[in-house]
């Protein structure tokens, strides 16, 4: 089945822009990215859209469809009615470059702020041994394709530009959790999670989990467990007492 779909696509750059209406052919089995490519091929050869794998694995095609952060290549046209107007905009948390392409360097800056994997000093590469059940939790977080949809949707930075300085965002707080839970990482990441990466700003409202295309339970499995570890260290006098006593022994 083929029909003429109605689209509103944001076009512009840092100086301004607007939603523009288009009518484009839509065929059975297509995703939004297919239609944008047809738009490029037939009407707007200069439409800027970032993509790479068209398989939901590279994390390049992040945008917002009808106001919701989504991957363009994983949003099937079949979820819309043939009469619906499909609105496509760039991610609204990051500075726009042109059309659907945004500057995501905030995320790279935050990635660099997380100290890398720190194995025990007496282990050489190749000597790492670990049990599957010990790495399992970290492995869930390795599914991340770095699409930054979670960063885009998180209200801490989406609604408050000034928080970008102090808040690493769900993707990188999850990275901290991944290393903290890793059986061979010896760095102490708990105080930094709160003080440097801004974990306290997350109010566990789960929008990151809601939009993650990889289905990672970011809030339940990374953010809340990290909040509990921070509580162990900073806000729980009993745990603190227990640690102090056992260290003295």
């Amino acid at each position: 089945m083929s029909y003429t779909g109605r689209f509103r696509v944001w076009r512009g750059d840092t100086d301004g822009g607007a939603l523009q209406d288009f009518e484009v052919e839509v065929n059975e089995g297509e995703v939004v990215l297919d239609v944008l490519h047809r738009l490029q091929a037939t009407q707007t050869p200069d439409l800027a859209v970032r993509w790479n794998c068209k398989a939901g694995k590279c994390g390049s095609c992040s945008a917002e469809i009808d106001g919701r952060p989504r991957l363009l290549c994983m949003t099937r046209m079949s979820v819309f009615g043939t009469d619906d107007v499909v609105t496509v905009t760039p991610m609204r948390t990051f500075p726009v470059i042109r059309d659907l392409v945004t500057d995501v360097s905030y995320n790279y800056a935050k990635a660099r702020e997380v100290p890398s994997f720190t194995p025990p000093a007496d282990l050489a590469p190749g000597e790492y041994r670990m049990q599957q059940i010990d790495v399992e939790r970290s492995q869930e977080f390795r599914k991340c394709i770095e699409c930054f949809l979670c960063q885009d949707t998180c209200h801490v930075v989406r609604d408050h530009e000034e928080n970008k300085e102090a808040f690493a965002g769900p993707r990188f707080l999850m990275r901290v959790a991944e290393l903290e839970m890793h059986p061979l990482d010896v760095a102490d990441r708990v105080p930094a999670a709160q003080e440097e990466h801004g974990l306290g700003r997350c109010n566990i409202t789960k929008c990151c989990t809601e939009v993650c295309p990889e289905g990672i339970k970011i809030t339940d499995n990374a953010l809340i467990p990290m909040k509990e570890r921070v509580a162990d260290r900073k806000y729980d006098p009993l745990v603190w007492l227990g640690r102090t006593i056992s260290r003295r022994r």
Partner: protein
């Protein structure tokens, strides 16, 4: 920054007039959450201070009055299992020893936090819908930094769940008829099982049972408990809501039987 240049309107971001382009009914979940929580708060508030109809058939004690430790509990002989020592005052609920902590347990619960931040505080009301507040510091400052005390309320809630279990078990014994089973027993039992499910599926419980470990392989028992709690934890929101419902229904049942509006059906005895 002026109000108009906040958030999605901040300089550099794509200039789009609508603050959200979501066209679905995103306001429905927060509205339903607000309504649901208000119903429970109003019902619970009224019942906690009513000081009447809390003990039925000489054996059913409603969870809203457990443990019954006020001198006022004397009006229903057999309702107080742990002594009576709080003054009988209209502003002191008979279960003043448990209710405030149960309230704080739910208030600091990770799920309810999400629920009321979204519904009452609109922070955010729904994903990618701008929140109305000009500034935001999350849970970094007083009073919200106190949310970090959740684990303590979990410990207390576990103790109170034990008391509720004791009540449910004791309700099988009628002072005159001995061992009996009525519909009310099943009501109390279902309620207490679900209360346990809610309490045990708590994120702090998950952390305490094993989540805080780095090497599960060195703690096989705690790993198994953690795995089991993690399974329940995925349904924590479900248990949070279902227990609000069963608490109201259980209390309503006891109240109606106590008032003589309905008769408790005896299955055995």
């Amino acid at each position: 920054m002026t109000t108009s240049a906040r958030g999605v309107d901040a300089p550099g971001r794509a200039q789009i007039d609508a603050r959200t382009l979501r066209a679905d009914r995103w306001w429905l979940p927060p509205a339903a959450t607000t309504a649901g929580l208000l119903v429970f708060l109003v019902y619970g508030g009224v019942r906690a201070f009513q000081q009447q109809y809390f003990f039925a058939d000489e054996r059913y004690l409603t969870p809203f009055y457990s443990p019954c430790v006020s001198l006022g509990c004397a009006s229903e002989p057999g309702a107080a299992h742990f002594g009576m020592f709080l003054p009988d005052h209209p502003l002191i609920p008979y279960a003043a020893l448990s209710l405030p902590f149960l309230l704080l347990f739910r208030l600091t619960c990770y799920y309810y936090r999400k629920a009321y931040y979204r519904s009452f505080w609109l922070s955010p009301a729904a994903c990618a819908v701008p929140e109305p507040h000009a500034t935001y510091t999350g849970e970094t400052r007083f009073p919200l930094i106190l949310q970090n005390s959740h684990r303590y309320f979990f410990y207390l809630a576990a103790v109170i769940a034990l008391i509720n279990t004791y009540d449910a078990v004791l309700a099988f014994r009628h002072p005159a008829d001995g061992f009996v089973v009525g519909v009310g027993n099943l009501v109390l039992l279902v309620n207490v099982v679900l209360l346990w499910a809610y309490t045990v599926s708590c994120h702090s419980c998950r952390h305490v049972m094993g989540g805080r470990l780095t090497h599960f392989s060195k703690h096989p028992v705690r790993y198994r408990i953690w795995t089991w709690v993690s399974g329940l934890n995925t349904r924590h929101m479900f248990f949070a809501w279902i227990t609000l419902g069963t608490l109201i229904l259980t209390d309503l049942y006891v109240m109606l039987v106590a008032r003589g509006t309905i008769v408790d059906l005896r299955i055995i005895g």
